[in-house]
Symmetry: C2
């Protein structure tokens, strides 16, 4: 750990920020501050004790004592500015970003702790259970959706967007499949959009199937009102499908079996 300073003076904190803000260091500042934001929206946050984190890619987070999400943030900062406001006895830390034009201004009244560190983390997050895993499972085992289904194409491009799975059923009718982990009304519209597009392209009636691990009554109504269908897929089957696939490839398993219990 590069530096740890408790209850630093503004001057010292200013120097630390100026030294490390624009470099690949992680800064953590605990203190009493207020925050203003202006850009895509505008916000004001009065004084409170918070944790400010500047990450190595310049991401900025202002975390309060509660909630998953930060109170204020900046996913990417282009320019930093630190000033001591003698009149108000505040340390002012500004982060600017272009595209979109945005500004976060943090005014510290008191600083409790500053740490500087260069975190080393080359590990990639391996995750299973995403929508794309359902796509793969369908390609691997089309009977998940329907017996006799033949997958024609995945991620088929159309003027209306990308169709998740394009297939034909036992009667050789075209089937548009939209896969969603968390379907909502928009998903229905999205599927309709694709079906409309394909019907135009092939000038005939096309089936549209929404494939999802869950569904609500209202969305189902909305779907069926449009002549579209719903097929449920078990997320556990998808993960199992992936893992059975992976078990055959010794040593490539993404997950530690000891974690299973």
């Amino acid at each position: 750990m590069e530096r740890i300073v408790q209850n630093p003076e503004f001057e010292e904190t200013k120097q630390i920020i100026e030294e490390y803000a624009s470099r690949k260091y992680t800064l953590q500042i605990n203190g009493l501050c207020s925050v203003n934001y202006r850009g895509r929206a505008k916000s004001k946050l009065d004084r409170g004790e918070r944790i400010v984190i500047k990450k190595q890619d310049s991401a900025l987070l202002v975390h309060g004592p509660e909630n998953y999400q930060p109170k204020n943030w900046q996913p990417e900062v282009d320019r930093w500015n630190v000033q001591i406001d003698e009149e108000n006895e505040e340390l002012v830390m500004e982060s600017k970003r272009t595209s979109p034009e945005e500004l976060v201004e943090i005014r510290f009244e008191r600083i409790d702790l500053v740490t500087v560190d260069q975190l080393v983390d080359k590990s990639e997050l391996k995750i299973r259970g995403h929508e794309v895993d359902i796509h793969e499972a369908v390609e691997e085992e089309p009977e998940i959706v329907e017996d006799g289904l033949k997958v024609v194409e995945r991620e088929k491009e159309t003027p209306a967007g990308f169709i998740d799975v394009f297939a034909r059923d036992t009667e050789d009718k075209y089937v548009v499949i939209e896969v969603k982990r968390n379907p909502d009304y928009n998903t229905v519209l999205q599927l309709q959009r694709y079906v409309d597009e394909i019907e135009e392209e092939f000038s005939g009636k096309i089936r549209g199937i929404l494939l999802a691990p869950k569904m609500t009554d209202k969305i189902l109504d909305y779907l069926e009102d449009r002549g579209l269908e719903f097929v449920e897929v078990e997320m556990e089957d998808v993960i199992a499908s992936y893992e059975s696939l992976n078990q055959s490839q010794k040593g490539l398993s993404d997950f530690d079996p000891s974690y299973e219990t």
Copy 2:
């Protein structure tokens, strides 16, 4: 600040976590760790240096050196468990949550810093620029959309859903306005559905306007192909509209004028 410990032993860290995890304290732990998650999906994150934060409402964040978002998290934790894995020389911190059933397991190999604090933050975030603020701005100043526009109704209910703004133009034609901060293809279909619905109700041609702060060429094409219109709204105008409204009510201004420059 309740406690700050550098390079603590596992035993000491375990005691600190056990003492504070379930109480309204903020814990920050910097160290080398790996993380497993299982619940709605499943993930594995190999060893790397990270910042683990447990907030006062039990939210758990595992932040890597980059990005706005945490690598792993738990918005709410119901049960904590800390164990020292002597065999692997790891400190294992488990957080469980029911509804949905989820588990995050953090395995520390090295701990650099532990801090315990009780952050006091009673301030509410005041924010302007949400979609509803655009609605209000239109009601206040309909010329934002079009000269001579008269707002008939906001949040008008139809069988197809709620119409953001229902209005009439200078020629007394009905206008359906859909407001979106981030419009997409589905927004177009949504608007079209409202227009179809209203055309049925009033049996006549109805105008449909998508009001948004931004637009892409493709979505614009898709919109205009359907005879619908796009009007751009400046978020700054929306915010200004709110503030001019508020200035008339002395002392209620949400924002510090000194920030304006």
